[in-house]
């Protein structure tokens, strides 16, 4: 497959930040760019990134599997990522998780039948002053309560 023009543009911009021979430094940027566009990273996409950056495919697979943000299988339209680490736990993340499980009928790692939501447990998001914290797309939602959670979900397509 051919990477889309916008993905290639983002990779080019990233590549300009590093010395000429250091293509590999643009790899994480490339993975983000591709995932933002396609939702998850399938093999043809990873192979295309390797080709575009002139890297051996194994290097691309290594990064795509090591870093948690990259999805190696399809996910719902919205990934609901719930921090359950210590500060969030102390401030009630268990209650948010129970509420989401009940409302969406799915557990961590699962996607609703309509393909709308995937529920994901994440480690500390670095926003513990607003615990419990939920992360959806590029947004953090802080001081989340079950009621607030319902409003957030209702606002997503």
């Amino acid at each position: 497959m051919q990477l889309s023009e916008s993905v290639r543009k983002k990779i080019d911009e990233a590549r300009a930040q590093y010395p000429a021979e250091q293509n590999r430094s643009a790899l994480i940027w490339a993975l983000h760019a591709a995932q933002d566009e396609y939702g998850w990273l399938d093999e043809p996409t990873l192979e295309s990134i390797a080709e575009y950056l002139e890297l051996e495919p194994i290097k691309v697979y290594e990064a795509a599997t090591f870093y948690d943000m990259f999805n190696r299988s399809p996910v719902g339209r919205h990934q609901i990522k719930v921090c359950t680490n210590l500060s969030c736990m102390l401030c009630g993340s268990d209650g948010i998780v129970d509420h989401l499980r009940g409302k969406l009928g799915i557990d961590f790692g699962e996607t609703t039948g309509d393909g709308r939501f995937t529920l994901t447990e994440v480690e500390c998001l670095g926003a513990c002053g607003g615990a419990p914290v939920i992360w959806i797309g590029k947004e953090y939602y802080e001081d989340v309560t079950p009621e607030r959670m319902d409003e957030i979900l209702a606002g997503l397509d």
């Binding site: 250091q22 430094s25 680490n85």
Partner: protein, 440 residues
């Protein structure tokens, strides 16, 4: 910014009460970029800058507390370019959220600190390594970098001084270990974030094998004020061994969680008061003052301690990154430790056997105690596993994963014993309903 209830000298959070504090204009109105003028146009030499930072007593705010001026002096002076300055904005230690606010509300102060730091170590390129989850801070920092280029503070021949400094953002992909400085270097090279052996330290072998200095966001953001007001001024804000102010990120069971910048040496009790005290008027049970990679201490111990390296050391713990997690009397310590053990299990990069296997063992044993399947000999087993990890790994993650288990066994052994004997938690019945971790 959270409302700041008292009048303290602010350094890295200075000016953040203004709604547009992230903009160049707000920073300039607040005296921004005068330090860079003083350094690049006022005839300061690299040695002058390093000496001033040494005098300030500034120690690494990323957690290890290594003296910043000393670290800068390790950079080889006569080696040719390229040399690099890397800012560690990975901020993934649970309970830490201070760098996020510096980047969101004071990005230009970080940039100015990096220009001066780059000059001091003779680096012409800088990278800000921002954890991938942080989108808003990334956007704010990138916008500020663009503004700084536009205004001539970045790029070639800054302010006509002949000094060059280019600054870029490198986004991470989600991995706690990427915050370890040598793992971060690997990650900037596009590799898996696996720590390297030290030595060689980054000053000798950093990004692409070139001399590199790694500093935390808060460390670098402290530099402009040190240059403007002098190292002695900064030093005198704190204690003899811990200069300056420090942001403490306070979370958990307090009424007003948030970032509080206070002088080093501030009594813990005062910090707790700033954060509104323990919620619901509950009793303070335990505090982790520097994130789970430092030992937890009982409330009554920390109530007598001050927030500086020495005092917390005497209290049997460490200042770390200043990530203060407060737990009240309703907290089940075993459950809290189980959660952080799970975190370390999940995040070990796996290249050292003691760390990789040990993290799994610690988690599984604490998990079974928490779930009513513990055995009396499990407590010794935990200590034994800990002693086989500590000091036997490539990076400090190994010691970190042991800290919560061993410190909680030391101070709260009775809770573990109660779990094992009664197959349930001793605080379960006491926990009030509401926004509380369900004690299990």
């Amino acid at each position: 910014m959270p409302e700041y209830p008292k009048d303290y000298t602010l350094v890295t959070l200075a000016g953040t009460d203004r709604a547009d504090s992230n903009t160049l204009q707000a920073y300039l109105d607040n005296g921004g970029y005068t330090a860079v003028q003083k350094v690049l146009r006022g005839g300061m030499t690299r040695d002058d800058v390093v000496a001033e930072v040494k005098r300030s007593g500034l120690r690494g705010r990323g957690g290890a507390g290594f003296p910043t001026g000393l670290k800068w002096s390790f950079m080889p002076a006569d080696t040719p370019q390229p040399k690099y300055l890397a800012c560690n904005a990975d901020e993934a230690e649970p309970g830490t959220f201070k760098d996020r606010d510096i980047m969101r509300y004071n990005p230009h102060m970080l940039i100015e600190g990096m220009i001066i730091g780059g000059f001091a170590i003779d680096a012409t390129v800088g990278y800000v390594y921002i954890r991938g989850e942080f989108w808003e801070p990334y956007v704010r920092v990138q916008e500020a970098i663009d503004e700084a280029y536009e205004a001539g503070y970045l790029g070639k021949d800054i302010l006509g001084s002949g000094v060059d400094f280019d600054l870029y953002v490198h986004r991470g992909g989600g991995a706690y270990i990427a915050g370890e400085e040598t793992a971060m270097l690997e990650s900037i090279e596009g590799k898996k974030a696996m720590p390297r052996f030290k030595p060689p330290f980054p000053a000798n072998h950093g990004i692409y094998g070139r001399p590199t200095t790694v500093n935390n966001v808060e460390t670098l953001a402290s530099v402009p004020a040190i240059i403007n007001n002098g190292g002695d001024w900064f030093q005198s804000l704190g204690t003899p061994d811990s200069g300056g102010t420090k942001i403490f990120a306070v979370s958990g069971h307090v009424n007003r969680p948030g970032n509080y910048e206070v002088p080093m040496g501030t009594p813990f009790s005062e910090l707790l008061e700033l954060a509104g005290g323990v919620r619901n008027g509950n009793k303070l049970k335990a505090v982790i003052p520097g994130g789970p990679s430092v030992p937890m201490v009982p409330g009554e111990v920390i109530m007598d301690a001050n927030m500086d390296y020495e005092s917390l050391g005497q209290a049997g713990t460490m200042l770390g990154a200043g990530s203060v997690i407060v737990m009240d009397e309703t907290t089940c310590i075993v459950k809290a430790v189980e959660r952080v053990a799970k975190f370390f299990f999940h995040e070990s990069c796996g290249q050292c056997t003691p760390c990789r296997e040990g993290a799994g063992w610690l988690y599984r044993v604490v998990h079974r105690i928490e779930h009513g399947q513990g055995r009396p000999e499990d407590l010794e087993l935990l200590e034994d596993i800990g002693s086989r990890i500590e000091g036997r790994t490539i990076c400090a993650f190994g010691d970190a994963e042991v800290a919560p288990v061993v410190s909680s066994l030391k101070h709260f052994r009775d809770e573990y014993e109660y779990h094992i004997a009664n197959k349930r938690c001793m605080v379960g019945a006491a926990a009030p309903a509401g926004k509380v971790a369900e004690a299990g």
